[in-house]
Amino acid sequence: LKTKVILHIAILIAFASSFISNAYWDFKPTPMPLQVPKGFPQPNAAIFKNNPITKEGFALGKKLFYDFTLSKDSQVSCASCHQQYASFSTYDHDFSHGIYDTHTYRNAPPLVNLAWMKSWHWDGAINHLANQPLAPFTAKDEMGETLENIVKKVKANKDYAPMFLNAFGTSNVNIPNITKALTQFTSSLVSANSTYDKVMRGEQKFSKPQEAGYTIFKTHCNGCHTAPLFTTNTFANNGISLNDKNDKGLMNITGQAKDSLSFKIPTLRNIGQTIPYMHDGRFNELAKVVNHYTSLDTSLPNLHPLLRKKINLSNTEKQQLILFLFSLSDTSFTKNKLYYP
């Protein structure tokens, strides 16, 4: 009789718990926490709250990242505009290609060290890394799909159900879980193994011109493109002129005139791979970027205070600076097999 009672209680517990959480019994994802590179600050903890990176979540996020069928015309995936060899930017394109031969209105930023940011996009419009995928999913000039259809397509693809089960303990496909998985993948895109990093770790030495370039960088650039992230992840008006798309950057979001033409300071990591430059890709070589700063009108309104002082560099110094910037390329990142589809 005793065993019978125990059996009944066991059945009851199993029955009740299946009602409560619809939980997958053997749900044990493998933790894959973010490795914080030596010298880096702590990442933005809000990204990982209720969403720790696991091997299974990362794998699911990666599959979604490379899934073309999620776009309206099944031609565009996240990876279309965020190509690994270009440090997850669009190589050699000022604007990226969206569905039906559309073009985006901004240059695709590289996806590098996103876990250290507090806002995303050139104008900071996105307040949480997990909210970011919603923008390209639905933008008419990117993937152009409705969120309803994204969920439908993921549900219809039989590959996904076991992956959701392994990643989240439920085969329930919904927007929170889709964006959580993508966040696990994108927040894992960490680059900290460039020549610069090797020099800092004492494993390698700069060439003589790079050494000189590094000194120039520390004098004129490090205030905004602060090492080791090579960005303060804040916003600045760098004196760039208004483009024909009337893109006023941060002001579009805040509505404040003082934010006119302020854009998110981009990281310089892998800058050799993220050609062309600026929010609209207007400069197709680094020399033009450097010339922009040396020929800047320092009296422009709203200009970042650090740019009020004229920057004077000789042609040799400009070359040295550019050679230093190339030392920020990290091929162990752009060729990391972990990120391959």
Partner: protein
């Protein structure tokens, strides 16, 4: 099997003994004392004809419910009521927020009422639409107000306090009066992002809520 069912029944029965008192809160849109009908044509306070096809809002942090964080999506022409547990009506007033607090606006996509699938979330500019009103009028043409914003200076989250009869009630109906809100529609019929106009509209909206009595 029968015994298992009996056990389950006992479990639910025990739970219900400890359950708190329930209250149903419903929302209705009204115009000149009558319940506003979706897409019906009315004569506006500014003497043109108008109709409303969509009216939705987020309401949260009800003072009388035991779960303060509770966020509900109200569709005035659809799912307009919800049942919630309460610790009773000790006070003679009821307060709630029109909108979603800052923390929930910046925590990433969530399930349930806050799921972005409900089309009450700006995908291009993270944040919830607190209040959505769509329709048309003969003089204003298109009316499309998407009111939201959780950051200063355009924070559109508003606390609404309404007097409540002290006698216990298991059902509360809250009215949103389009007549009282009309000034905000005329002032800016199209609002699509956090802005000074959205803040003004949110201010007007707080004045348009009342306890509805049939």
């Amino acid at each position: 099997v029968l015994r298992t069912l009996f056990f389950t029944f006992c479990l639910y029965y025990t739970q219900s003994l400890f359950a708190q008192q329930k209250v149903t809160i419903s929302f209705v849109a009204t115009y000149k004392g009558q319940i506003l009908k979706k897409d019906s044509v009315y004569i506006s306070p500014s003497n043109d004809s108008f109709s409303i096809g969509k009216l939705k809002c987020y309401v949260s942090n009800f003072s009388i419910t035991s779960n303060k964080q509770n966020v509900q999506l109200v569709d005035f022409f659809g799912e307009n009521s919800f049942v919630t547990s309460t610790n009773g009506f000790k006070q003679n007033k009821l307060s709630f927020y029109l909108g979603v607090d800052s923390a929930l606006n910046s925590s990433g996509p969530q399930a349930g009422a806050l799921d972005p699938l409900n089309n009450m979330f700006w995908t291009w500019h993270s944040g919830y639409i607190f209040f959505k009103l769509e329709g048309s009028s003969s003089s204003l043409k298109k009316i499309e107000q998407h009111i939201g914003g959780y950051k200063a200076p355009y924070n559109a989250l508003r606390k609404i306090t309404l007097p409540l009869s002290t006698q216990q009630n298991s059902s509360i109906v809250i009215a949103f009066d389009i007549e009282k809100y009309w000034a905000a529609i005329v002032q800016k019929p199209i609002i699509g992002a956090p802005s000074a106009n959205a803040v003004l509209a949110a201010n007007t909206a707080t004045q348009a809520f009342s306890i509805f009595t049939y």
